[in-house]
Symmetry: none
Subunit: 230 residues, 2 copies
Amino acid sequence: MAAVPSPTSSFDRLYQTLARALIAKLSSGKYAVGDRLPAERELSIEYDVSRPTVREAIIALEVQGLVDVRVGSGAYVKRVPGKTEIPGFNITAFELTEARLLFEGEAAALAASQITDEELNELDALVRAIAAENLSKGGSERADRAFHLSIAAATRNAAIVNTIKELWNLRANSPESALLHEKARTANIKPVVDEHSAIVDALRNRDPAAARTAMRMHLSAVLDSLLFAT
Amino acid sequence: MAAVPSPTSSFDRLYQTLARALIAKLSSGKYAVGDRLPAERELSIEYDVSRPTVREAIIALEVQGLVDVRVGSGAYVKRVPGKTEIPGFNITAFELTEARLLFEGEAAALAASQITDEELNELDALVRAIAAENLSKGGSERADRAFHLSIAAATRNAAIVNTIKELWNLRANSPESALLHEKARTANIKPVVDEHSAIVDALRNRDPAAARTAMRMHLSAVLDSLLFAT
DNA sequence: TCCTTGATTTTGGTCAGACCAATTTCTATC
DNA sequence: GATAGAAATTGGTCTGACCAAAATCAAGGA
């Protein structure tokens, strides 16, 4: 019984989780180009989801050109994703966090010199939201992500925003990264609110060096937590 | 009443027909990035199709990165097909170079602590290739790009490599950036070989701070040259 | 034995309706 | 005007039904 893996983040909907599982099957060599996937009804039973959900997942694969759906016949493999085709597939959680440490540190330093009071208030609210997320069972990282992207936005540089957003996307897309972060969450390691507050304090003081240091310390702690979760 | 256009081919399924109609709406300017599409139930009535069919069409758009679906809220336009389809369309050459200054500086610092003699020799060869490019009429930047990506590779961090590669891709894809760099080239502003040599020297000395400074000075000079070319 | 035809089964496509969770909007109170 | 709670709206998933297209099977004829 290949039950659908539990969602790796609260952003995931069931169809996405199933699509991901099916893509993993394609990648693993279970199917070759031309093979027919199991029928919708079969997949529905196998993964213990409803048939419309299966349909949605198959459509996600179809739109990405991975399968070719023939009415009355089935879904046929059109292209097998290679490992290198999934951005971030080969990037470890350590590498990702190390890169974020270096790059987000610089973004925080740049943001410190031009951040508005409005942006600081928004960050305060997000710190409170992170604290609230820490108390909830779901393990959502929505506020944490928004926090970091708000700092990037305060740089007022679209290339920096794009880069940091891409790093977060890599994090979301990397199976290895997702697994490690999931382990960290089940080990009850959550974003440390004090570290986030310290970043906001440094930004509020318009101190680039302090902002850089605070962000680096925060992400260095994330690195440590990943080690602990390994 | 915007009934779904009749299928354009017997292969078309309803969800595809509807997805196509929605994409046409996006392309026509009816919606801007950030706008919310009508609710599923509304679209179901408007197009006289079932709600699951609407969902399937929205998923097709979502997987293509055209919309962002938020549970309980709606489907928001993330990207309008057409002019913004090229990543980096709205990123200026200044923003890009500023981001590179911050990020490639850090990559150079990290590379300095672990670069091999082999990698240094490769960088020497690339500096010579940059000098040769400067003498040629074509204005190729192949060696310049390879130089920067080699330094990124010396960090031995796939996330950093990916990020710097993306920044170079943004540069290649951005029309505004291409235009400015073209202006710089016609003004006979070329990569300064001494600046590249200075970066390699700092790396050869395994001096992270010097490497960071050398890379930042180089990219700061690129920023100045863009100003001159404006 | 092989081929053809028709019946049956399987497959995907779409629909209707129900219920739940998340978010937004509205209303009442202070 | 601000806040809290209720109501409404939104997307998410499910069950069940029926239809069209395709595949498979069985029977009959050459």
